[in-house]
Protein backbone atom coordinates (compact mmCIF):
# COMPACT_ATOMS: atom_id res chain seq x y z
CA UNK A 1 0.00 0.00 0.00
CA UNK A 2 2.84 2.38 0.93
CA UNK A 3 4.63 1.46 -2.29
CA UNK A 4 1.49 2.26 -4.32
CA UNK A 5 1.23 5.68 -2.66
CA UNK A 6 4.83 6.46 -3.57
CA UNK A 7 4.16 5.54 -7.16
CA UNK A 8 1.07 7.72 -7.20
CA UNK A 9 3.04 10.64 -5.77
CA UNK A 10 5.72 10.11 -8.41
CA UNK A 11 3.07 9.95 -11.12
CA UNK A 12 1.46 13.18 -9.96
CA UNK A 13 4.87 14.82 -9.84
CA UNK A 14 5.61 13.76 -13.39
CA UNK A 15 2.19 14.90 -14.58
CA UNK A 16 2.59 18.32 -13.00
CA UNK A 17 6.12 18.46 -14.34
CA UNK A 18 5.01 17.60 -17.85
CA UNK A 19 2.37 20.36 -17.68
CA UNK A 20 4.81 23.05 -16.61
CA UNK A 21 7.91 21.85 -18.41
CA UNK A 22 7.03 23.38 -21.78
CA UNK A 23 6.31 26.71 -20.12
CA UNK A 24 9.63 26.57 -18.30
CA UNK A 25 11.44 25.72 -21.52
CA UNK A 26 9.59 28.38 -23.43
CA UNK A 27 10.52 31.05 -20.91
CA UNK A 28 14.10 29.85 -21.00
CA UNK A 29 14.11 30.04 -24.79
CA UNK A 30 12.70 33.58 -24.87
CA UNK A 31 15.42 34.68 -22.54
CA UNK A 32 18.05 33.11 -24.77
CA UNK A 33 16.56 34.73 -27.87
CA UNK A 34 16.70 38.17 -26.35
CA UNK A 35 20.38 37.69 -25.70
CA UNK A 36 21.37 36.08 -28.96
CA UNK A 37 20.18 38.73 -31.35
CA UNK A 38 20.00 37.80 -34.99
CA UNK A 39 22.84 39.13 -37.10
CA UNK A 40 22.45 41.24 -40.15
CA UNK A 41 20.72 44.48 -39.37
CA UNK A 42 23.41 46.84 -40.44
CA UNK A 43 22.15 50.22 -41.53
CA UNK A 44 23.72 53.09 -43.38
CA UNK A 45 22.70 56.66 -43.85
CA UNK A 46 23.89 60.10 -44.80
CA UNK A 47 22.43 63.30 -43.40
CA UNK A 48 20.04 65.41 -45.40
CA UNK A 49 22.77 68.01 -45.70
CA UNK A 50 24.57 65.64 -48.02
CA UNK A 51 23.14 66.75 -51.29
CA UNK A 52 24.65 68.35 -54.30
CA UNK A 53 23.18 71.80 -54.17
CA UNK A 54 23.12 73.76 -57.40
CA UNK A 55 25.97 76.02 -56.44
CA UNK A 56 28.09 72.90 -56.42
CA UNK A 57 27.79 72.62 -60.15
CA UNK A 58 29.40 74.98 -62.67
CA UNK A 59 28.16 78.53 -62.89
CA UNK A 60 28.34 80.56 -66.05
CA UNK A 61 31.50 82.60 -66.05
CA UNK A 62 32.80 81.05 -62.87
CA UNK A 63 36.57 80.96 -63.26
CA UNK A 64 37.03 78.21 -60.73
CA UNK A 65 37.36 74.70 -62.07
CA UNK A 66 37.34 73.10 -58.65
CA UNK A 67 34.00 72.42 -57.08
CA UNK A 68 33.61 70.87 -53.70
CA UNK A 69 31.18 69.05 -51.53
CA UNK A 70 32.32 67.94 -48.11
CA UNK A 71 30.86 66.04 -45.22
CA UNK A 72 33.05 66.81 -42.28
CA UNK A 73 33.72 64.20 -39.64
CA UNK A 74 33.80 66.83 -36.90
CA UNK A 75 30.10 67.56 -37.23
CA UNK A 76 28.00 64.77 -35.77
CA UNK A 77 25.08 65.38 -38.10
CA UNK A 78 27.22 65.60 -41.20
CA UNK A 79 28.79 62.31 -42.02
CA UNK A 80 28.18 58.94 -43.56
CA UNK A 81 27.29 56.53 -40.79
CA UNK A 82 27.06 52.77 -40.70
CA UNK A 83 25.57 51.11 -37.67
CA UNK A 84 26.33 47.52 -36.86
CA UNK A 85 23.50 46.39 -34.66
CA UNK A 86 25.19 43.43 -33.09
CA UNK A 87 28.43 41.73 -32.27
CA UNK A 88 27.76 38.55 -34.18
CA UNK A 89 30.75 38.83 -36.48
CA UNK A 90 29.09 40.65 -39.35
CA UNK A 91 31.64 42.32 -41.58
CA UNK A 92 30.58 44.90 -44.09
CA UNK A 93 31.71 47.06 -46.99
CA UNK A 94 30.35 50.36 -48.17
CA UNK A 95 31.02 51.41 -51.72
CA UNK A 96 30.23 54.60 -53.57
CA UNK A 97 29.66 55.33 -57.24
CA UNK A 98 28.51 58.34 -59.21
CA UNK A 99 26.56 58.51 -62.43
CA UNK A 100 27.10 60.88 -65.31
CA UNK A 101 25.36 64.20 -64.73
CA UNK A 102 23.06 65.58 -67.40
CA UNK A 103 21.20 68.65 -68.47
CA UNK A 104 18.71 68.44 -71.30
CA UNK A 105 21.52 68.66 -73.83
CA UNK A 106 24.81 68.44 -71.92
CA UNK A 107 26.70 65.76 -70.06
CA UNK A 108 29.15 66.09 -67.19
CA UNK A 109 30.89 62.70 -66.99
CA UNK A 110 31.65 61.07 -63.69
CA UNK A 111 35.26 60.86 -64.85
CA UNK A 112 35.50 64.57 -64.05
CA UNK A 113 35.04 63.86 -60.37
CA UNK A 114 37.30 62.60 -57.65
CA UNK A 115 36.53 61.76 -54.08
CA UNK A 116 38.04 60.98 -50.73
CA UNK A 117 36.76 60.08 -47.33
CA UNK A 118 37.86 62.03 -44.29
CA UNK A 119 39.18 60.39 -41.18
CA UNK A 120 41.67 61.08 -38.51
CA UNK A 121 44.09 58.78 -40.10
CA UNK A 122 46.59 56.66 -38.36
CA UNK A 123 49.09 54.58 -40.25
CA UNK A 124 46.46 52.19 -41.59
CA UNK A 125 43.59 54.58 -42.13
CA UNK A 126 42.05 53.36 -38.93
CA UNK A 127 41.13 55.70 -36.16
CA UNK A 128 41.19 53.57 -33.06
CA UNK A 129 40.16 56.34 -30.72
CA UNK A 130 36.44 56.27 -30.19
CA UNK A 131 36.07 59.53 -28.33
CA UNK A 132 37.05 63.16 -28.58
CA UNK A 133 37.12 65.54 -31.47
CA UNK A 134 36.94 65.20 -34.36
CA UNK A 135 34.19 62.67 -34.11
CA UNK A 136 35.69 59.27 -34.55
CA UNK A 137 35.85 56.75 -37.30
CA UNK A 138 36.68 54.10 -34.80
CA UNK A 139 37.06 50.47 -35.73
CA UNK A 140 36.75 50.73 -39.47
CA UNK A 141 39.16 50.76 -42.35
CA UNK A 142 38.76 53.67 -44.71
CA UNK A 143 40.61 52.64 -47.88
CA UNK A 144 40.62 56.04 -49.56
CA UNK A 145 40.75 58.19 -46.46
CA UNK A 146 42.50 61.52 -46.22
CA UNK A 147 43.80 62.42 -42.79
CA UNK A 148 41.98 65.66 -42.16
CA UNK A 149 39.68 66.78 -39.40
CA UNK A 150 37.71 69.11 -41.64
CA UNK A 151 38.54 72.04 -39.39
CA UNK A 152 41.54 73.83 -40.84
CA UNK A 153 42.12 74.79 -44.45
CA UNK A 154 40.25 73.47 -47.47
CA UNK A 155 39.65 70.01 -48.81
CA UNK A 156 42.06 70.66 -51.67
CA UNK A 157 44.77 72.02 -49.37
CA UNK A 158 44.63 69.00 -47.12
CA UNK A 159 43.64 66.17 -49.40
CA UNK A 160 44.95 67.01 -52.87
CA UNK A 161 47.07 63.85 -52.95
CA UNK A 162 44.07 61.62 -52.31
CA UNK A 163 41.80 63.56 -54.64
CA UNK A 164 44.31 63.38 -57.47
CA UNK A 165 44.59 59.61 -57.12
CA UNK A 166 40.92 58.89 -56.55
CA UNK A 167 39.43 60.09 -59.80
CA UNK A 168 36.32 58.13 -60.55
CA UNK A 169 36.76 55.70 -63.40
CA UNK A 170 34.47 53.52 -65.43
CA UNK A 171 35.08 50.42 -67.45
CA UNK A 172 38.34 50.56 -69.41
CA UNK A 173 38.14 47.24 -71.27
CA UNK A 174 37.16 47.57 -74.95
CA UNK A 175 34.80 45.23 -76.72
CA UNK A 176 37.31 44.22 -79.37
CA UNK A 177 34.91 42.99 -82.05
CA UNK A 178 32.94 46.27 -82.21
CA UNK A 179 31.97 48.09 -84.33
CA UNK A 180 30.90 45.38 -86.71
CA UNK A 181 31.02 47.54 -89.87
CA UNK A 182 32.82 50.64 -91.12
CA UNK A 183 31.65 53.80 -89.39
CA UNK A 184 31.63 57.15 -91.16
CA UNK A 185 32.09 60.40 -89.29
CA UNK A 186 28.52 61.45 -89.97
CA UNK A 187 26.46 58.46 -88.93
CA UNK A 188 24.73 58.28 -85.59
CA UNK A 189 24.04 54.55 -85.84
CA UNK A 190 26.77 52.20 -84.62
CA UNK A 191 26.34 48.48 -85.43
CA UNK A 192 27.62 46.30 -82.58
CA UNK A 193 27.86 42.59 -81.94
CA UNK A 194 25.71 42.52 -78.81
CA UNK A 195 23.84 45.64 -77.84
CA UNK A 196 22.97 44.27 -74.38
CA UNK A 197 26.55 45.06 -73.41
CA UNK A 198 25.76 48.75 -73.69
CA UNK A 199 23.50 51.06 -71.68
CA UNK A 200 21.57 54.23 -72.49
CA UNK A 201 23.24 57.41 -71.14
CA UNK A 202 26.59 55.67 -71.28
CA UNK A 203 29.67 57.21 -72.89
CA UNK A 204 31.53 55.03 -75.33
CA UNK A 205 35.10 55.65 -76.47
CA UNK A 206 36.37 54.65 -79.90
CA UNK A 207 39.93 53.51 -80.51
CA UNK A 208 41.11 56.99 -81.51
CA UNK A 209 39.66 58.61 -78.41
CA UNK A 210 36.42 59.88 -79.91
CA UNK A 211 33.67 59.91 -77.33
CA UNK A 212 30.00 59.37 -78.04
CA UNK A 213 26.90 59.23 -75.88
CA UNK A 214 24.39 56.41 -76.27
CA UNK A 215 20.89 57.84 -76.53
CA UNK A 216 18.94 54.79 -77.68
CA UNK A 217 19.58 51.09 -78.14
CA UNK A 218 18.03 48.79 -80.70
CA UNK A 219 19.02 45.16 -81.23
CA UNK A 220 22.51 45.28 -82.73
CA UNK A 221 22.43 49.08 -83.17
CA UNK A 222 23.47 51.93 -80.89
CA UNK A 223 22.00 55.39 -81.47
CA UNK A 224 24.66 57.85 -80.39
CA UNK A 225 25.60 61.48 -80.23
CA UNK A 226 29.03 61.66 -81.83
CA UNK A 227 32.11 63.66 -80.91
CA UNK A 228 31.14 64.85 -77.46
CA UNK A 229 33.24 66.33 -74.64
CA UNK A 230 35.72 68.10 -76.86
CA UNK A 231 36.30 65.19 -79.22
CA UNK A 232 35.62 65.04 -82.96
CA UNK A 233 33.57 62.49 -84.87
CA UNK A 234 35.87 60.38 -87.03
CA UNK A 235 35.84 57.21 -89.14
CA UNK A 236 36.26 53.80 -87.54
CA UNK A 237 37.04 50.41 -89.00
CA UNK A 238 35.35 47.13 -88.05
CA UNK A 239 36.65 45.52 -84.85
CA UNK A 240 38.71 48.58 -83.94
CA UNK A 241 37.29 48.34 -80.44
CA UNK A 242 34.75 50.30 -78.39
CA UNK A 243 35.02 50.94 -74.67
CA UNK A 244 31.65 51.10 -72.93
CA UNK A 245 32.62 53.34 -70.01
CA UNK A 246 29.36 52.70 -68.19
CA UNK A 247 26.59 55.00 -67.00
CA UNK A 248 28.06 55.05 -63.51
CA UNK A 249 31.57 54.94 -62.12
CA UNK A 250 33.14 51.82 -60.74
CA UNK A 251 32.27 51.36 -57.11
CA UNK A 252 34.92 52.63 -54.74
CA UNK A 253 35.36 50.93 -51.40
CA UNK A 254 35.01 53.73 -48.87
CA UNK A 255 34.39 51.89 -45.63
CA UNK A 256 35.26 48.38 -44.48
CA UNK A 257 34.39 47.20 -41.05
CA UNK A 258 34.60 46.39 -38.36
CA UNK A 259 38.27 46.47 -37.55
CA UNK A 260 39.31 43.95 -36.41
CA UNK A 261 36.97 41.77 -38.49
CA UNK A 262 34.11 40.23 -36.57
CA UNK A 263 34.30 43.01 -34.06
CA UNK A 264 32.04 44.79 -31.71
CA UNK A 265 28.65 46.43 -31.76
CA UNK A 266 29.15 49.92 -33.03
CA UNK A 267 28.45 52.90 -35.18
CA UNK A 268 31.03 53.77 -37.76
CA UNK A 269 31.28 57.06 -39.53
CA UNK A 270 33.26 58.98 -42.08
CA UNK A 271 33.47 62.40 -43.54
CA UNK A 272 33.21 62.56 -47.26
CA UNK A 273 34.81 64.88 -49.78
CA UNK A 274 33.99 65.37 -53.43
CA UNK A 275 35.75 67.44 -56.08
CA UNK A 276 35.03 68.11 -59.69
CA UNK A 277 37.93 69.05 -61.90
CA UNK A 278 36.54 70.20 -65.19
CA UNK A 279 38.83 69.37 -68.05
CA UNK A 280 39.29 72.62 -70.03
CA UNK A 281 39.23 70.57 -73.23
CA UNK A 282 35.74 69.45 -72.41
CA UNK A 283 33.43 72.32 -73.05
CA UNK A 284 31.26 72.00 -70.00
CA UNK A 285 28.51 74.55 -70.05
CA UNK A 286 26.50 76.02 -67.25
CA UNK A 287 23.22 74.30 -66.62
CA UNK A 288 21.02 72.41 -64.22
CA UNK A 289 22.80 69.07 -64.16
CA UNK A 290 21.33 66.05 -62.47
CA UNK A 291 22.43 62.50 -61.77
CA UNK A 292 22.73 60.22 -58.82
CA UNK A 293 25.19 58.88 -56.33
CA UNK A 294 24.81 55.31 -55.10
CA UNK A 295 25.97 54.07 -51.73
CA UNK A 296 26.01 50.29 -51.46
CA UNK A 297 26.23 48.39 -48.21
CA UNK A 298 26.90 44.70 -48.35
CA UNK A 299 27.73 42.07 -45.78
CA UNK A 300 30.73 39.87 -46.33
Amino acid sequence: MEKNNSINVLLIFLIVGSIFFPSILSAQSEQKASINILPGYITMNTPSSFSFDRTFLPKAGDPSLYLYKILTPNIESSKLTVKDADSSGQNFHVTMSLSNLFTSNQILPFTNFSTTTLAIDTINNIDVNSSGLPFPTANITAPIACSWDGLNGTLDDNCSTELNSNTLVGNITPIAIDPTTNITNSTNLIPVSNSTQYTIDEIIIFSDGEKALITQIDPGILHVERGILGTTASEHTPASGIIPVGPESQQLDIMVGPEPPGGRIGAYSLGFGFRSLIDPAEEIQAGDYSGHITFTLYIT
Binding site: I7, F50, S88, Q197
Partner: protein, 237 residues
Protein backbone atom coordinates in the same frame (compact mmCIF):
# COMPACT_ATOMS: atom_id res chain seq x y z
CA UNK B 1 2.50 -1.72 -9.49
CA UNK B 2 0.10 -2.32 -12.35
CA UNK B 3 1.27 -2.57 -15.95
CA UNK B 4 -0.62 0.60 -16.89
CA UNK B 5 1.03 2.60 -14.13
CA UNK B 6 4.42 1.32 -15.17
CA UNK B 7 3.68 2.31 -18.74
CA UNK B 8 2.58 5.80 -17.78
CA UNK B 9 5.63 6.22 -15.56
CA UNK B 10 7.97 5.11 -18.35
CA UNK B 11 6.25 7.24 -20.98
CA UNK B 12 6.29 10.40 -18.90
CA UNK B 13 9.92 9.87 -17.95
CA UNK B 14 10.79 9.40 -21.60
CA UNK B 15 8.81 12.51 -22.50
CA UNK B 16 10.59 14.73 -20.00
CA UNK B 17 13.95 13.40 -21.09
CA UNK B 18 13.01 14.16 -24.69
CA UNK B 19 12.01 17.64 -23.59
CA UNK B 20 15.45 18.15 -22.13
CA UNK B 21 17.02 17.12 -25.43
CA UNK B 22 14.78 19.58 -27.28
CA UNK B 23 15.82 22.27 -24.85
CA UNK B 24 19.47 21.74 -25.69
CA UNK B 25 18.79 21.90 -29.39
CA UNK B 26 16.75 25.07 -29.07
CA UNK B 27 19.40 26.69 -26.91
CA UNK B 28 22.12 26.00 -29.44
CA UNK B 29 19.93 27.18 -32.30
CA UNK B 30 18.41 30.27 -30.75
CA UNK B 31 20.37 32.64 -33.02
CA UNK B 32 18.55 31.13 -35.96
CA UNK B 33 15.05 32.14 -35.01
CA UNK B 34 12.89 34.49 -36.97
CA UNK B 35 14.13 38.08 -36.82
CA UNK B 36 13.89 39.71 -33.41
CA UNK B 37 13.39 43.34 -32.57
CA UNK B 38 16.49 44.97 -31.20
CA UNK B 39 15.93 48.68 -31.68
CA UNK B 40 17.80 50.66 -29.08
CA UNK B 41 16.98 54.17 -27.98
CA UNK B 42 19.80 55.47 -30.15
CA UNK B 43 18.43 53.65 -33.14
CA UNK B 44 15.00 55.08 -32.48
CA UNK B 45 16.36 58.58 -32.31
CA UNK B 46 18.30 58.01 -35.47
CA UNK B 47 15.23 56.59 -37.19
CA UNK B 48 13.29 59.68 -36.21
CA UNK B 49 16.03 61.70 -37.77
CA UNK B 50 15.88 59.59 -40.92
CA UNK B 51 12.15 60.09 -41.10
CA UNK B 52 12.92 63.74 -41.61
CA UNK B 53 15.90 63.32 -43.90
CA UNK B 54 14.86 60.13 -45.61
CA UNK B 55 18.24 58.64 -46.58
CA UNK B 56 19.54 55.31 -45.46
CA UNK B 57 19.32 51.56 -45.65
CA UNK B 58 16.72 51.02 -42.97
CA UNK B 59 15.68 47.73 -44.46
CA UNK B 60 17.16 44.29 -44.81
CA UNK B 61 16.89 41.06 -46.76
CA UNK B 62 17.60 37.77 -45.01
CA UNK B 63 17.43 34.15 -46.13
CA UNK B 64 14.50 32.25 -44.63
CA UNK B 65 16.67 29.14 -44.57
CA UNK B 66 20.22 30.32 -43.84
CA UNK B 67 23.07 28.07 -44.85
CA UNK B 68 25.91 27.15 -42.56
CA UNK B 69 28.68 28.41 -44.87
CA UNK B 70 27.69 32.06 -45.18
CA UNK B 71 24.41 32.44 -43.29
CA UNK B 72 23.67 35.95 -44.53
CA UNK B 73 24.25 35.04 -48.18
CA UNK B 74 22.04 33.04 -50.48
CA UNK B 75 24.04 30.05 -51.75
CA UNK B 76 22.98 27.49 -54.32
CA UNK B 77 24.25 24.72 -56.53
CA UNK B 78 22.22 23.90 -59.62
CA UNK B 79 22.36 22.48 -63.11
CA UNK B 80 21.96 24.55 -66.26
CA UNK B 81 18.24 24.96 -66.90
CA UNK B 82 17.25 24.45 -63.25
CA UNK B 83 14.77 26.74 -61.53
CA UNK B 84 15.63 27.47 -57.90
CA UNK B 85 12.74 28.45 -55.65
CA UNK B 86 13.46 30.12 -52.34
CA UNK B 87 12.11 32.62 -49.85
CA UNK B 88 13.50 35.71 -48.14
CA UNK B 89 12.54 37.89 -45.22
CA UNK B 90 12.05 41.51 -46.27
CA UNK B 91 12.21 43.75 -43.27
CA UNK B 92 11.70 47.41 -42.49
CA UNK B 93 14.04 48.28 -39.62
CA UNK B 94 12.78 51.86 -39.36
CA UNK B 95 10.19 53.38 -37.05
CA UNK B 96 8.29 54.75 -40.00
CA UNK B 97 6.65 53.44 -43.17
CA UNK B 98 9.52 52.71 -45.49
CA UNK B 99 9.27 52.52 -49.25
CA UNK B 100 11.94 50.77 -51.26
CA UNK B 101 12.35 48.42 -54.20
CA UNK B 102 14.17 45.17 -54.86
CA UNK B 103 16.04 43.98 -57.92
CA UNK B 104 18.65 41.46 -58.99
CA UNK B 105 22.19 42.57 -59.70
CA UNK B 106 25.24 41.07 -61.35
CA UNK B 107 28.18 40.72 -59.02
CA UNK B 108 31.85 40.87 -59.86
CA UNK B 109 35.18 41.42 -58.20
CA UNK B 110 37.28 44.52 -58.81
CA UNK B 111 41.05 44.52 -59.14
CA UNK B 112 41.43 44.70 -55.36
CA UNK B 113 39.29 41.60 -54.94
CA UNK B 114 36.35 43.52 -53.49
CA UNK B 115 32.84 42.78 -54.62
CA UNK B 116 30.95 45.19 -56.84
CA UNK B 117 27.35 44.95 -57.96
CA UNK B 118 25.64 46.47 -60.97
CA UNK B 119 23.42 49.44 -60.23
CA UNK B 120 19.70 49.74 -60.86
CA UNK B 121 20.18 51.55 -64.19
CA UNK B 122 22.39 48.83 -65.60
CA UNK B 123 20.68 45.90 -67.23
CA UNK B 124 22.15 42.75 -65.67
CA UNK B 125 23.50 40.23 -68.13
CA UNK B 126 24.38 37.31 -65.85
CA UNK B 127 23.12 36.17 -62.45
CA UNK B 128 21.23 39.42 -61.84
CA UNK B 129 18.99 38.70 -64.82
CA UNK B 130 17.99 35.27 -63.53
CA UNK B 131 15.89 36.55 -60.62
CA UNK B 132 12.14 36.76 -60.58
CA UNK B 133 10.65 38.28 -57.44
CA UNK B 134 7.13 37.75 -56.14
CA UNK B 135 7.09 41.48 -55.40
CA UNK B 136 9.56 44.25 -56.19
CA UNK B 137 8.05 47.41 -54.68
CA UNK B 138 7.57 47.60 -50.93
CA UNK B 139 5.96 50.00 -48.48
CA UNK B 140 6.37 48.31 -45.12
CA UNK B 141 4.97 49.38 -41.77
CA UNK B 142 7.44 50.17 -38.99
CA UNK B 143 9.45 47.03 -38.19
CA UNK B 144 7.25 44.91 -40.41
CA UNK B 145 8.79 41.66 -41.60
CA UNK B 146 7.29 39.75 -44.50
CA UNK B 147 8.27 36.55 -46.23
CA UNK B 148 8.46 36.68 -50.03
CA UNK B 149 9.19 34.07 -52.67
CA UNK B 150 11.62 34.41 -55.52
CA UNK B 151 12.95 32.17 -58.24
CA UNK B 152 16.29 31.94 -59.98
CA UNK B 153 16.14 30.50 -63.48
CA UNK B 154 19.49 29.16 -64.61
CA UNK B 155 19.76 29.47 -68.38
CA UNK B 156 20.28 26.39 -70.50
CA UNK B 157 23.69 25.91 -72.14
CA UNK B 158 25.44 28.14 -69.64
CA UNK B 159 29.06 27.62 -68.72
CA UNK B 160 29.35 25.62 -65.48
CA UNK B 161 31.13 27.83 -62.94
CA UNK B 162 30.39 29.97 -59.90
CA UNK B 163 28.33 33.08 -60.55
CA UNK B 164 28.10 36.01 -58.16
CA UNK B 165 24.92 37.99 -58.07
CA UNK B 166 23.01 39.94 -55.51
CA UNK B 167 19.58 40.88 -54.27
CA UNK B 168 19.53 44.65 -53.85
CA UNK B 169 17.06 46.57 -51.71
CA UNK B 170 17.25 50.23 -52.65
CA UNK B 171 15.73 53.54 -51.68
CA UNK B 172 16.09 56.59 -53.86
CA UNK B 173 16.18 59.98 -52.15
CA UNK B 174 15.64 62.94 -54.42
CA UNK B 175 18.03 65.85 -54.10
CA UNK B 176 17.99 69.30 -55.57
CA UNK B 177 20.30 68.17 -58.36
CA UNK B 178 21.78 64.81 -57.51
CA UNK B 179 19.64 61.98 -56.23
CA UNK B 180 21.05 59.61 -53.66
CA UNK B 181 20.43 55.90 -53.90
CA UNK B 182 20.97 53.87 -50.74
CA UNK B 183 20.99 50.16 -51.16
CA UNK B 184 21.81 47.04 -49.26
CA UNK B 185 22.98 44.13 -51.37
CA UNK B 186 22.84 40.56 -50.16
CA UNK B 187 25.30 38.48 -52.17
CA UNK B 188 24.01 35.41 -53.98
CA UNK B 189 26.48 32.71 -54.92
CA UNK B 190 25.28 30.28 -57.57
CA UNK B 191 27.48 27.35 -58.50
CA UNK B 192 26.32 26.02 -61.84
CA UNK B 193 27.47 22.44 -62.20
CA UNK B 194 26.33 19.18 -63.75
CA UNK B 195 26.69 17.54 -60.35
CA UNK B 196 25.07 19.91 -57.84
CA UNK B 197 25.45 19.15 -54.14
CA UNK B 198 23.04 20.26 -51.46
CA UNK B 199 24.12 23.29 -49.46
CA UNK B 200 24.09 22.56 -45.70
CA UNK B 201 21.37 24.55 -44.00
CA UNK B 202 21.07 25.61 -40.40
CA UNK B 203 18.53 23.53 -38.44
CA UNK B 204 14.98 24.77 -38.66
CA UNK B 205 14.01 26.29 -35.32
CA UNK B 206 11.81 24.07 -33.15
CA UNK B 207 8.35 25.44 -32.48
CA UNK B 208 6.69 24.85 -29.15
CA UNK B 209 3.06 24.82 -30.16
CA UNK B 210 2.55 21.09 -31.03
CA UNK B 211 4.99 20.05 -28.35
CA UNK B 212 3.01 21.92 -25.72
CA UNK B 213 -0.40 20.54 -26.72
CA UNK B 214 0.83 16.93 -26.96
CA UNK B 215 2.36 17.21 -23.50
CA UNK B 216 -0.76 18.76 -22.08
CA UNK B 217 -2.91 16.05 -23.68
CA UNK B 218 -0.83 13.28 -22.14
CA UNK B 219 -0.96 15.00 -18.78
CA UNK B 220 -4.76 15.29 -18.89
CA UNK B 221 -5.16 11.64 -19.91
CA UNK B 222 -2.82 10.53 -17.13
CA UNK B 223 -4.56 12.69 -14.57
CA UNK B 224 -7.95 11.40 -15.67
CA UNK B 225 -6.70 7.84 -15.28
CA UNK B 226 -5.58 8.53 -11.74
CA UNK B 227 -8.83 10.29 -10.89
CA UNK B 228 -10.93 7.43 -12.27
CA UNK B 229 -8.77 4.91 -10.39
CA UNK B 230 -9.21 6.86 -7.19
CA UNK B 231 -13.00 7.13 -7.61
CA UNK B 232 -13.27 3.38 -8.36
CA UNK B 233 -11.20 2.58 -5.27
CA UNK B 234 -13.39 4.83 -3.12
CA UNK B 235 -16.47 3.14 -4.62
CA UNK B 236 -15.16 -0.32 -3.70
CA UNK B 237 -14.54 0.84 -0.14
Amino acid sequence: MSFIKKSILAFLSFFILTSLCFAQEIESDSTNNEPQEETSQNDTADNDNKKKTGGGTYFSIDPVRPNTIKPTWFMYEAKPGDVIEDEMYVRNTADYINEFYIYGTDGAYNEDGDKIFTIFDEIPSEAGSWFNFEETDYALEPHEVIKKKFTITIPENIEPKEYLGGIAAEKLVKGSSVNRAFRMVVPVNIKVTDNPQSIPLKPIPVTYTPFFWITLGIAIISFSYLAVSYIKRRGKK
